[in-house]
């Protein structure tokens, strides 16, 4: 059995600093290999290095053999001739990787035409067959802009593999996808790995488990451990691997919250809400009561109107029908929102300290409340001296929570507050949010596409159905 892809002491350096430490691996026909680790761990660079796509200041060291050929012995042109024919790549951002002006089926058909030298009509038949195979039979005439993220990724999969490449590299192929769509892509990769070879890079333990084969855990450009998927995820030897496994919401501890006393005040009540978007009814006759200090989860696939519901409750978006009533006598600024992208909550032109001072001055708050609050959220007060762009996403999200809690709010709408964060950070932030909000007696409406996350953190859950 010859190796399709072979790396020998492959490392990636920028000037003097080593970004990815030497790594060796062999991938033969019928094998699947998944590299697991947080984003920013140099995993994506590895795939770019194999494809020969490293951006200029970065360099590759060590040997890469594709279908037995050492790519250092090939000219750049010959190296690119391997693309599509022997090795292909599934992009991280499928939307940006598809030609926005070309219809879906054509983007697959042209590969049969150009790479396999098929006649146009034949190419079209094959492309149609491929699209049907991944459940896109009806979408062939659509433009990429009219596809959902999951559909775009399936289309990209068809396009990437139509040229007949045995080796498929996939860089975070399930990023931002709902669970059911994520599982579909994982299944496609697993299938492809049975008659070819698949190298996947992901931060999602569940994806790694579903693809199976071998798993290599990487952290900060260094190999932590490797082994068979089942045994490694079942009994990891490295602490970091255990941390990654624990970071998946399935493995979070259920927050055992002290039983609320029965006579809690209502902070927000919605009656008979209805919202239609693009001709689809997202929800109708929806009633919802949110009580003080309660944590309510909303789940559903993307596009089901979860975020719209939250915005309607806050009065940021008008409902088509129904009304929202706030508790009487509570100042309007005690109803606040946390954004999916924490950057969205802060003015980028001012420093964090300035923004916190603005809030303190506006409401005549006690500035001495800030340090204990930051400590509660495990933040260093020194972070305030930085600009918005100089702190990490997890820190910024916690700073957003801190700024909100300064005002002692009664209701917080958290719109996918951790979906942009790394799993380990996401776990920390999500658990802190619910814990600290409970301590401050603030109700939280937590929206997430991940039913496990909501199940583990919320008192009760509202599932919005898929749009009709």
């Amino acid at each position: 059995m010859t190796a399709l892809l072979q790396l020998e002491n492959l490392s990636i350096v920028a000037g003097d600093s080593v970004l990815v430490e030497p790594i060796s691996l062999t991938l033969a026909k019928g094998q699947r290999l998944t590299i697991l680790g947080e984003t920013g761990a140099g995993k994506s660079l590895l795939i770019q290095a194999i494809m020969g796509l490293l951006p200029p200041p970065l360099r590759r060291q060590g040997t890469v053999r594709i279908v037995g050929q050492d790519i250092d012995t090939l000219s750049r042109k010959d190296q690119q001739r391997l693309w599509g024919h022997h090795i292909s790549m599934l992009p991280q951002e499928p939307w940006y990787s598809l030609d926005p002006l070309m219809r879906s089926q054509q983007q697959v058909a042209e590969v049969y035409e150009c790479v396999q030298q098929e006649r146009p009509d034949q190419a079209n038949v094959k492309a149609q067959r491929d699209l049907v195979g991944v459940g896109l039979g009806e979408a062939g005439h659509r433009l990429p802009g009219q596809l959902s993220g999951g559909m775009a990724q399936r289309l990209a999969f068809c396009a990437a593999t139509a040229g007949g490449a045995e080796i498929v590299l996939a860089d975070e192929p399930t990023k931002g996808l709902d669970i059911s769509r994520r599982d579909y892509i994982a299944a496609l990769l697993r299938q492809k790995g049975e008659d070819g070879a698949v190298l996947t890079i992901t931060h999602d333990v569940e994806v790694a488990r579903q693809i199976g084969g071998t798993i290599m855990v990487m952290r900060n450009g260094r190999l932590v451990e490797q082994g068979n998927a089942e045994s490694l995820l079942g009994a990891p030897s490295a602490g970091y691997t255990q941390e990654l496994i624990n970071a998946a919401p399935e493995s979070w501890p259920s927050v055992r919250r002290h039983q609320p006393n029965v006579s809690r005040a209502t902070v927000l009540e919605a009656q008979g809400l209805e919202k239609t978007r693009g001709g689809k009814t997202l929800f109708k006759e929806l009633d919802l009561v949110i009580n003080q200090g309660e944590i309510v989860g909303i789940t559903g696939d993307s596009g089901c109107g979860k975020s719209s519901l939250g915005d309607i409750l806050l009065g940021l978006l008008p409902a088509d029908k129904g009304r929202v009533v706030r508790a009487p006598g509570v100042a309007p600024y005690k109803y606040l929102k946390l954004y999916q992208d924490p950057l969205a909550a802060f003015a980028s032109a001012a420093s964090l300290k300035q923004l916190f001072d603005d809030v303190i001055r506006l409401h005549g708050l006690d500035a001495r409340k800030v340090p204990p609050l930051l400590e509660q959220l495990r933040l260093s007060p020194a972070l305030l001296d930085r600009a918005v762009h100089e702190v990490s996403g997890g820190e910024l999200q916690r700073l957003a929570i801190a700024r909100a809690l300064l005002l002692e709010p009664v209701f917080l709408f958290a719109d996918e507050p951790v979906s942009r964060l790394d799993p380990i950070t996401a776990r920390e932030v999500a658990l802190l949010l619910t814990q600290v909000a409970t301590e401050h007696n603030c109700a939280v409406l937590l929206v997430s596409h991940d039913p496990y996350l909501v199940e583990k953190t919320c008192d009760r859950t509202l599932a919005l159905g898929a749009p009709e």
């Binding site: 806050l314 940021l316 100042a331 309007p332 600024y333 109803y335 606040l336 929102k337 954004y339 969205a344 909550a345 802060f346 003015a347 980028s348 032109a349 001012a350 603005d358 809030v359 506006l362 409401h363 700024r403 005002l407």
Partner: protein
């Protein structure tokens, strides 16, 4: 000073060239008492000398005095035009972008009217119906220039008002003035300064163009476009004199274009 440091390399070069031109125009006015209109028919096309560092023109007038006057005219007119159009454009743009509704509709209506005509034709119409009037030139150029500020400022204001950072500030209880200061103004500053540099270049070119097609200012005014037409017939006789207004316009425009930074 802080702003100067924020400029990139080519912007600094642009700023330096512009500073030299402004310095020349100002110092010439301060130190050189020669009247740019005084003719000396006995001293036509004198080569540069100590007494006349830039030589003389076809009527023996001092080119140093004429270049100083012409640069002052171009610089001042462009400054006034930019200030007027920027003030009007930014004010209306913020108002229309923020409030939307009827203000937006009225101003957009006027905007469409101005946009339906290429700028120079509009300026020509203004200039043509009162020839030689600097006021009409000023009105015409400003009328054409404010449109660009309005469009850009309105779009940015709209985006800022709809942006989630501003939504967040609103929820935190901040008022309109704070939102303007923290969200809208910082987003406006750089594009408006860029537009101002382009606008200044556009008004200098328009002034020269009108002088060139003889519907702008009238001789004997020292104006760069006018000087080019007047001196062109003598291109082989006194190329260095013709080169002066040509070079001055070139320097002005390239300085402003460099200062404006990368074109989009």
């Amino acid at each position: 000073m802080r702003r100067v440091k924020q400029l990139n390399g080519s912007q600094q070069i642009g700023a330096a060239i512009l500073a030299c031109l402004v310095g020349f125009a100002f110092l010439e006015w301060l130190l050189n008492g020669t009247d740019p209109a005084v003719q000396n028919l006995g001293n036509l096309f004198a080569a540069p000398s100590l007494a006349e560092p830039l030589g003389t023109d076809q009527f023996g007038r001092s080119m140093l005095a004429r270049m100083g006057a012409a640069l002052r005219l171009s610089l001042l007119l462009s400054l006034v035009c930019v200030l007027t159009s920027a003030t009007i454009g930014v004010a209306l743009g913020v108002l229309a972008g923020w409030r939307e509704g009827w203000i937006d509709r009225i101003v957009s209506f006027v905007l469409n009217m101005v946009l339906a005509l290429p700028g120079l034709v509009l300026i020509l119409l203004f200039a043509g119906l009162a020839p030689g009037s600097l006021l009409m030139l000023y009105l015409g150029i400003s009328l054409v220039l404010w449109v660009e500020y309005f469009r850009v400022v309105r779009a940015i204001t709209r985006a800022s008002v709809a942006s989630s950072p501003m939504q967040a500030s609103r929820m935190l209880g901040f008022g309109s003035f704070y939102c303007f200061k923290r969200h809208v103004w910082p987003a406006l500053l750089t594009p408006v300064l860029t537009l101002a540099a382009f606008g200044a270049a556009a008004s200098i070119l328009a002034l020269a163009a009108l002088g060139f097609v003889a519907v702008g200012l009238r001789p004997p005014t020292a104006e760069l476009g006018l000087m080019m037409v007047e001196l062109f017939p003598y291109y082989s006789e006194a190329p260095w004199v013709l080169a002066q207004p040509v070079f001055a316009v070139f320097l002005l425009i390239i300085a402003l274009n460099l200062l404006a930074g990368k074109t989009k």
